[in-house]
Symmetry: C2
Subunit: 206 residues, 2 copies
């Protein structure tokens, strides 16, 4: 499937390509208004779960409640990564990451991680990656040329997975990190939040 945003002029921006095991509609919880739409790219089965029932279930089964938070949080992390990508990567790097990400998801679902079919058009891929369909097509052709992949219409075969993964060439030097982040308030380790008993915590910047 694809989820998308439609702007005031009717242009659509693809937000994600949900697959087996993914969740839809988390964005509709706040204000009971969905901010995005979903479209099937091929026949598919969905499970409908009324939000009220989910939360009710969460009240009796704590692990269920935590799963809810976890799923929403995961979606958020995914979106963050998306923003990072759109903000900083070149066209080649975006397409490469897209392929790797698809590969990962297919293998996680038990399919081949090397050989698979795209269910979406070049246009949709382009919209998802913030590129035009021509650029997507050209980039795939270029990868095919170099031997990184073999591409025939929507059939993709990944030849050099590592090369794709390391093709994270930024548009040369966006945002140098000279003085990497002074004043950390949170770091990437997994220590729990300090217990505060709900008191104030005051932090002062340098």
């Amino acid at each position: 499937m694809k989820t998308l945003l439609i702007d005031e002029f009717g242009n659509e921006q693809v937000l994600s390509f949900p697959m087996k095991g993914d969740i839809l509609g988390v964005d509709g919880i706040h204000s009971k208004q969905y901010s995005s739409e979903a479209v099937a790219l091929s026949d598919c089965d969905l499970i409908l779960l009324p939000f009220k029932k989910l939360t009710a279930l969460g009240r009796t089964h704590i692990e269920m409640e935590h799963a809810m938070y976890s799923v929403m949080s995961r979606e958020l992390v995914r979106e963050q990564a998306m923003v990072g990508m759109l903000g900083a990567l070149s066209a080649e790097a975006r397409v490469a990451r897209f392929l790797v990400s698809l590969s990962d998801r297919f293998s996680q679902m038990g399919y081949s991680s090397k050989l698979f079919n795209l269910r979406m058009t070049r246009h949709e891929i382009g919209s998802y990656l913030g590129l035009t369909l021509e650029t997507v097509s050209r980039t795939l052709s270029a990868f095919n040329e170099i031997g990184l992949i073999t591409v025939d219409q929507r059939t993709i075969c990944i030849r050099e997975m590592d090369a794709l993964k390391t093709l994270r060439r930024l548009p040369p030097s966006r945002s140098r990190a000279k003085h990497l982040a002074a004043n950390k308030l949170k770091s990437a380790d997994n220590k729990p939040l300090p217990a505060t008993d709900g008191n104030w915590g005051q932090y002062v910047s340098a």
Copy 2:
């Protein structure tokens, strides 16, 4: 404050500029590992809320629980809008939206919506918007030239709010929407999810 992602080369990508009333750390719930960092841009006060206590509170006060979901969902919608912007808008439109968004937030906090100070550098703005600091500086200068705003260093005065708001010029024609989304599964109206008693719902694409 600013929240940011740091990639494998130490480059930082700004994700948001949290202000009074905003929440931090929602991304850390899934897998108890924060995926982003936060840095203070000026002296500020924070309230630390252990996640466990929040959920415990949610169990006794239902409205509290719903507030949790609501906040997370709102964050998600915000990120989605961000993706849409990065994927489809020109540099001018991005800067214009940024200013309008800041204005809205300041006025919501009780400050002037027309006259305010930026707490972040051009570099940080650029990183946030997916632009270089030079482009941000140039665009602000251009807006100043045309009379949309007055800018002196970090002091911004908005002159033509409406013009800024309507400056949603896309980079001419990204992603035409000819056949606007066939096969809608969810639409933007706020009808509740159909009650399904947890049964299967099957949808078939055209």
